[in-house]
């Protein structure tokens, strides 16, 4: 997808993939779609949990060869 901003958070123990996503969401405009790459299986769960609380949208959530890829659209 052309307009997806990739956040490569593989191997990120601190701050970690979710915090990297929050950083991206804070600084980019509403409507931006992000794709977080994570080597931590927990991301497939904790990113959607925060996205629901923060009022954004999960576009896709998949695993590709041990890398978890979660797409999130900033809605507000």
């Amino acid at each position: 997808m052309e307009d997806v901003k990739v956040i490569d958070a593989r191997g990120s123990f601190c701050p970690g993939p979710l915090m990297e996503l929050i950083k991206g969401i804070r600084q980019e405009p509403v409507g931006t779609t992000f794709e977080v790459w994570s080597s931590d299986a927990g991301s497939a769960k904790d990113i959607p949990e925060w996205v629901a609380r923060a009022g954004h949208e999960i576009v896709a959530n998949s695993e590709d060869d041990g890398i978890f890829k979660v797409q999130v659209k900033k809605l507000r």
Binding site: A9, P15, Q27, E28, D46, W50, A54
Partner: protein, 379 residues
């Protein structure tokens, strides 16, 4: 003559300058190599001391030394503010118009706390990540007579263990002043556990319960109402406070934005192993200035600086500059006023926190005094 220009006189930039100078002293003396550090401050500041300044354990003068005294005498120091990097001219353009050309540029400009990013925070809260902020908080703590202290954490932020350290320390500090019964300590964190590092969060959770520290997870501070003394998260939760201490979101430096080198937050897209700015061969980036998904911490800058310095020496001697950074980070964690632990990890090895001990705390206090050997390139 080859020219290395280092933009930023913090820990990362200073280590690179001194390590290259030590290994290439002959070339520097023969004027085959010139190293210039650009800094907007005559003083080198050891920022972790601000945590202790807030508790009046040290004063700001103990956290700084003239950068000139730390740098190898063959390294040039240019004090002033950089306006922008001109990649076409391979030069840093200073605000006064001075043009400093480079063959290799090292960007080590760090980050800055941006309390203005949270509406009302500057009016309603305190920070301890700057000298000015730590002094104001010192005054507020000195006058504190008990109440509800809320520690809140924005994203991104540097020194990721400092929020936990402050929380533990402020509670012990209140008890030591006889205010324990009249003081509540509340901690908020942006994600679904007490710390980004899972082992640290697992260790901290029972400690919070044992010490009676209230916690609110999934809390990203969005607005502060200074009149009513409340803070509200973007997730919609509102907390009351008597004293608000915030670790505000950070941004990269404005010079990165003016140079067109960064993203919307002024962070520079950097290769995680080579530490070159993506798409370039002649620009290295280290420390907080990168967009890498690793801790914004002095130790990160330190270990990255070792790699950048080695690659610069290698390149200047005809090598390929292919030494790789493995993501190494090391942090002490103060767990109160008397004990501490530490963590170490890299891109492929998760951290394993050790049991806190008084010895590690003593070593941390000793390191605070020995720090000056680090930018000197010795430790």
């Amino acid at each position: 003559m080859k020219k290395i220009v280092i933009l930023g006189g913090g820990v990362g930039g200073t280590i690179v300058a001194n390590q290259v100078a030590r290994q290439m002293g002959k070339e520097l003396r023969n004027h085959e190599l010139e190293i210039t550090v650009i800094s907007d401050s005559v003083n080198h500041v050891y920022q972790p001391m601000f945590l202790y300044v807030a508790f009046d354990q040290v004063v700001p003068e103990e956290a700084q030394k003239p950068e000139r005294e730390i740098l190898d005498r063959h390294v040039k120091l240019h004090i002033g503010s950089a306006d922008r990097v001109d990649r076409d001219a391979k030069a840093v353009i200073m605000e006064d118009g001075t043009k400093i050309t480079y063959d290799y540029l090292v960007i080590a400009t760090g980050s800055r706390p941006a309390p203005e990013a949270i509406d009302g925070l500057e009016q309603g809260g305190y920070i301890f990540y700057t000298e000015e902020g730590a002094l104001k908080l010192r005054e507020a703590l000195h006058n504190f007579q008990g109440g509800r202290i809320v520690v809140t954490v924005g994203v991104p932020h540097k020194c990721p263990v400092a929020p936990l350290e402050f929380t533990f320390m402020v509670q012990e500090w209140a008890k030591a002043r006889g205010l324990g019964d009249k003081t509540e300590v509340v901690y908020t964190y942006p994600i679904g556990r007490l710390h980004s590092l899972e082992p640290v969060a697992n260790w901290a959770t029972p400690v919070f319960e044992e010490r009676g520290i209230e916690s609110h997870i999934f809390f990203n501070p969005e607005t502060v109402d200074a009149s009513n003394k409340t803070i509200t998260s973007l997730e919609g939760e509102t907390l009351n406070y008597d004293l608000l201490v915030a670790i505000p979101p950070h941004t990269g430096q404005a010079v990165i934005g003016r140079s067109g080198l960064g993203d919307a937050g002024n962070w520079i897209a950097t290769d995680r192993h080579s530490l070159r700015m993506q798409g370039t061969e002649d620009i290295f980036v280290l420390g907080d200035a990168t967009n890498l998904p690793i801790s914004k911490a002095g130790s990160t800058a330190h270990f990255e600086a070792d790699v950048v310095a080695s690659n610069l020496v290698n390149l200047l001697r005809g090598g390929l500059g292919s030494i790789r950074y493995d993501g190494k980070v090391f942090c002490f964690i103060e767990t109160g006023l008397k004990n501490a632990t530490y963590i170490q990890f890299d891109y492929t090895h998760p951290p394993k926190p050790q049991e806190p001990t008084e010895m590690i705390h003593m070593f941390k206090l000793a390191y605070n005094r020995m720090y000056w050997l680090t930018p000197a390139g010795v430790l």
